[in-house]
């Protein structure tokens, strides 16, 4: 047909404009020859669950990959709900890729276990390695970082976002060779102890393209100007500790240094901030689009003064010290705001310690027309407020509300918050991510199943009355990819009735619910496209009655078969073929 007249090179060139994985997957399914052409020219791979496919399968199909992104543990691992040792090891991937992808340039890992051995292997296997991003990873020490620094001659990005690094020595930074000038981005904010400051200074000096520098807490404020002077081209800065004796020379050095940074767009860090030093940053505020004050224990009026200077702010992460009054001021001054995250300063206090209520969020929803992403921790909420927010901001894409007390009702009516969240899903038709909290009955899930058609990720805790709730979600949410549930009275019925749905999702997490071992076994047997993992630290679930609920359940679709690295508290349910073979 006409296709055969189009040379492969032309097709390949056309495909090179396709960046989205979905588009590339569609293209691959057109015909065999397109499948072949596409697979040879795919350069970027995203693996949302490291156990969904094996490294061998990936490298076999896509031989010319340059950028890899892999995620490991489920999201609830961030809150200590996944026992240590569960899995998410990157080693098998690196072993395979070290042979298959010698030209690999980028590796981005999230919630994976990375050892020093892995880092060493990365540093020695890929001559053109440029970008390493480790988000919420663990298992490595500063020795591993030293390998990366020493051996990756073209390193552009080293980003250790919120990873857990065992700090053995601050001297790893000195392992960057003197001729390393390629750094563009360095994020060491998660490191606990000091790095060698002189090594850092020299590194910053010789890397003229450095645009992102996020320091760790141990870098003192009085040394910050030294770095800024050497890198006035910085676009993103994370300060170290923001405290020092109040001295005018430090203040003037700081102000001068900031004045020179005309390209600064993002600020973070601010540990231990002494409010007296904040005005030193005022000169750059009008250019700032992203401000992360979530580690800054600073209160009004200093907090408000800083934020109101940032009139072009698009993203704000802040502690609840901002209070309703601060959020109201924000809504008046920052009309470009797209993302707001408010974290609790005292999450375990029985009583609220600040005056931050639903009113703050309502103000922002009223005043900021571009607001699309919200993460909000507070102590009280009402249906009325949620309905107002929904009406104000139908363009919301992410809405994560955490009312700190589980089962907290509408504080005005003392009833459930079903209608409030219902309004959110009904009005915000593009909603992709939702986290629920407060007192909720099965009703809210009915609303979600009916309206949340674009919802991809849903997080549920302490909510619902019965399996009906889960049934609504599984049967109604057409775009659902990730569902995570804890402490809800959901059992076997809804899960089994909607078993096929699970094969259309990336994963389902359920902990402290009422799913029985028997149901897990059944799901495992009947759905070969899934791994059904029972995570239970009380010993083999077979030692308890089949009707006994399992502690935790993690179900994910996979073509990689059963895991081979499960610890002794994880059991993958047998699939039907395996059962037949043994008979």
């Amino acid at each position: 047909m006409a296709y055969s007249l189009i040379p492969e090179e032309v097709l390949e060139h056309v495909f090179s404009f396709l960046s989205s994985d979905r588009d590339r997957n569609s293209v691959s399914s057109v015909c065999k020859s397109w499948y072949e052409i596409e697979r040879w020219c795919r350069r970027r791979i995203f693996i949302g669950n490291c156990y969904s496919v094996s490294a061998e399968m990936v490298t076999r199909r896509f031989p010319e990959v340059r950028e890899v992104e892999i995620k490991g543990k489920p999201h609830f691992a961030d809150f200590n709900l996944v026992p240590e040792g569960w899995g998410g090891y990157v080693k098998p991937w690196i072993r395979v890729m070290s042979g298959a992808y010698p030209l690999l340039e980028e590796m981005k890992l999230k919630r994976m276990v990375v050892t020093d051995e892995c880092l060493d292997l990365i540093s020695r296997s890929f001559n053109n390695f440029k970008v390493l991003v480790l988000t919420s990873c663990e298992g490595f020490t500063t020795h591993g970082l030293a390998s990366i620094a020493a051996n990756c001659r073209n390193l552009r990005e080293l980003d250790l976002r919120e990873s857990e690094v065992e700090d053995l020595s601050g001297h790893w930074l000195s392992h960057f060779p003197d001729n390393c000038t390629s750094l563009v981005s360095l994020n060491i904010s998660c490191l606990g102890s000091e790095v060698s400051f002189s090594a850092l200074e020299r590194l910053v000096t010789r890397c003229p393209n450095l645009r992102t520098l996020r320091l760790n807490r141990a870098v003192p404020l009085d040394k910050l100007p030294n770095l800024l002077q050497r890198a006035p081209q910085l676009v993103e800065l994370g300060t170290g500790a923001c405290s020092a004796e109040i001295r005018s020379d430090i203040f003037s050095n700081l102000t001068e240094a900031f004045l020179a940074c005309k390209k600064l767009r993002a600020l973070s860090g601010f540990w231990d901030v002494v409010p007296a030093y904040l005005p030193a940053m005022y000169p750059v505020c009008s250019g700032i689009t992203s401000l992360n004050l979530s580690y800054a224990i600073v209160q009004s009026p200093d907090l408000g003064k800083l934020v109101s200077q940032c009139i072009n702010l698009q993203r704000l992460w802040v502690l609840d010290y901002i209070e309703d009054t601060g959020l109201e001021a924000l809504s008046l001054s920052c009309k470009d705001l797209q993302e707001l995250r408010v974290f609790p300063s005292d999450p375990f206090g029985a009583e609220p310690n600040v005056s931050l209520t639903e009113k703050g969020l309502v103000s922002v929803s009223e005043g900021c027309p571009k607001l699309q992403s919200v993460l909000y921790f507070c102590h009280q909420m009402s249906n009325a407020a949620l309905i107002t927010i929904a009406k104000n901001r139908p363009n919301l894409i992410r809405f994560r509300l955490c009312i700190i007390e589980p089962h907290a009702p509408d504080y005005l009516t003392l009833g459930p918050l079903d209608t409030g969240f219902g309004a959110i899903v009904e009005n915000c038709k593009e909603l992709r991510r939702l986290s629920l909290s407060g007192l909720l009955t099965d009703r809210v899930f009915e609303y979600i199943g009916t309206h949340a058609k674009k919802l991809e990720m849903l997080s549920i805790a302490f909510a619902g009355d019965s399996d009906l709730g889960l049934h609504h979600v599984l049967s109604g949410c057409e775009s659902l990819r990730k569902l995570e549930i804890r402490d809800c009275p959901f059992g076997d019925k809804a899960l089994l009735a909607n078993a096929a749905k699970l094969e259309t999702m990336r994963s389902l997490w359920m902990s402290s619910c009422s799913v029985s071992f028997g149901a897990c076994k059944l799901l495992g047997k009947k759905l070969p496209g899934l791994n059904v993992e029972v995570i239970d630290e009380r010993g083999h679930p077979g030692s308890r009655p089949e009707s006994c609920p399992v502690e935790k359940l993690y179900i994910y679709r996979t073509v990689g078969g059963q895991r081979v690295d499960t610890p002794d508290f994880v059991w993958t349910m047998e699939k039907e073929e395996e059962v037949l073979l043994t008979e």
């Binding site: 919120e162 009915e446 009355d465 009906l468 009380r538 609920p549």
Partner: protein
């Protein structure tokens, strides 16, 4: 640098919130699917349930699963895990402690709630350890009080007081020394910052609190009976350092040898410790003998 902490809160387990949550779950588990108030396509009758792939539960008689609080060690202990409880509020050795709040919020007793990433929680706790100047001290006093209360609730560095902070001369932060701590019979390992302590006593107390519930959990699993190990909301304390419990604290030193904790001066211990392990006394017999004599149960 991430410490796995039990989210704090002292005092009674039986706050109103937690009881109602439990009873709600019991109802859900024992009752058949409750019919919704308005009409819904979801069938109320079990037998009409259309199962996607013809899957059936295969439970004889269609009995619903037993309520979580039923007798039977396995099932009964389920809700203990679902609500991992912390031990009591800091002991009298802490000068800044007050009596545990009478109305502990449910949120402060539940693992992983509120859903805040561990690194963020650690950062909140660490804020009180940071150096401050004399002039800014007054500004941050209130914040410190909050943080101290939070710290007490987290029940982590119970011996730390505000006094220590003000006496520091704005010098750089002490390096942390995180070591892994494992306990026999418990798959969850923890990490602890040894530099947060300056004597064996506080270390022992902290580990005591950290692992108290795990000790009872381990006992429950082994004995497989209905033993209510958790008494009045608190676990049995292990008193690791005085040899009076079933468990003993050991550490692996730089040479890879396992030693009993407490023999050498604290500073020496800090310089050689690589990791810790809480062992059953019976299993710890082969280790270097402790200088302080005591009777051990075998």
């Amino acid at each position: 640098m991430r410490d796995t902490v039990h989210f704090g809160g002292g005092g009674a387990v039986n706050s109103g919130g937690s009881m109602s949550a439990l009873s709600r779950e019991e109802n859900a588990a024992t009752a058949a699917i409750s019919s919704s108030e308005d009409s819904s396509s979801y069938p109320d009758d079990d037998s009409e349930l259309e199962l996607g792939l013809g899957l059936s539960l295969g439970r004889g008689g269609g009995k619903p699963p037993p309520p979580p609080a039923a007798a039977g060690g396995g099932v009964g202990s389920w809700d203990q895990y679902a609500r991992i409880l912390t031990a009591k509020a800091p002991s009298s050795s802490s000068s800044s402690s007050s009596s545990p709040p009478a109305h502990s919020a449910v949120s402060s007793q539940v693992r992983g709630w509120p859903p805040i990433a561990t690194h963020r929680i650690n950062s909140l706790v660490n804020h009180t350890k940071s150096p401050i100047t004399e002039e800014s001290a007054s500004n941050v006093d209130n914040k410190r009080k909050n943080m101290t209360v939070a710290m007490d609730k987290i029940n982590y560095r119970s011996s730390y007081t505000i006094k220590n902070v003000s006496s520091e001369r704005g010098t750089t932060l002490k390096k942390s020394l995180f070591v892994k701590v494992n306990m026999d019979g418990v798959s969850i390992g923890r990490k602890i910052n040894l530099h947060a302590h300056n004597c064996y006593e506080t270390l022992g107390q902290t580990l005591d609190h950290m692992f108290t519930l795990d000790a009872s959990a381990c006992a429950t699993r082994r004995s497989n009976v209905e033993e209510q190990v958790v008494i009045g909301g608190r676990g049995r304390h292990m008193r690791l350092l005085d040899g009076s419990s079933d468990f003993v604290l050991t550490y692996e030193d730089k040479d890879g040898d396992w030693m009993l904790v407490g023999d050498v001066p604290w500073e020496m211990f800090l310089s050689s410790v690589r990791r810790l392990r809480i062992r059953r006394t019976a299993d710890a017999n082969g280790l270097a003998p402790r200088s302080r004599g005591m009777n051990r149960e075998c």
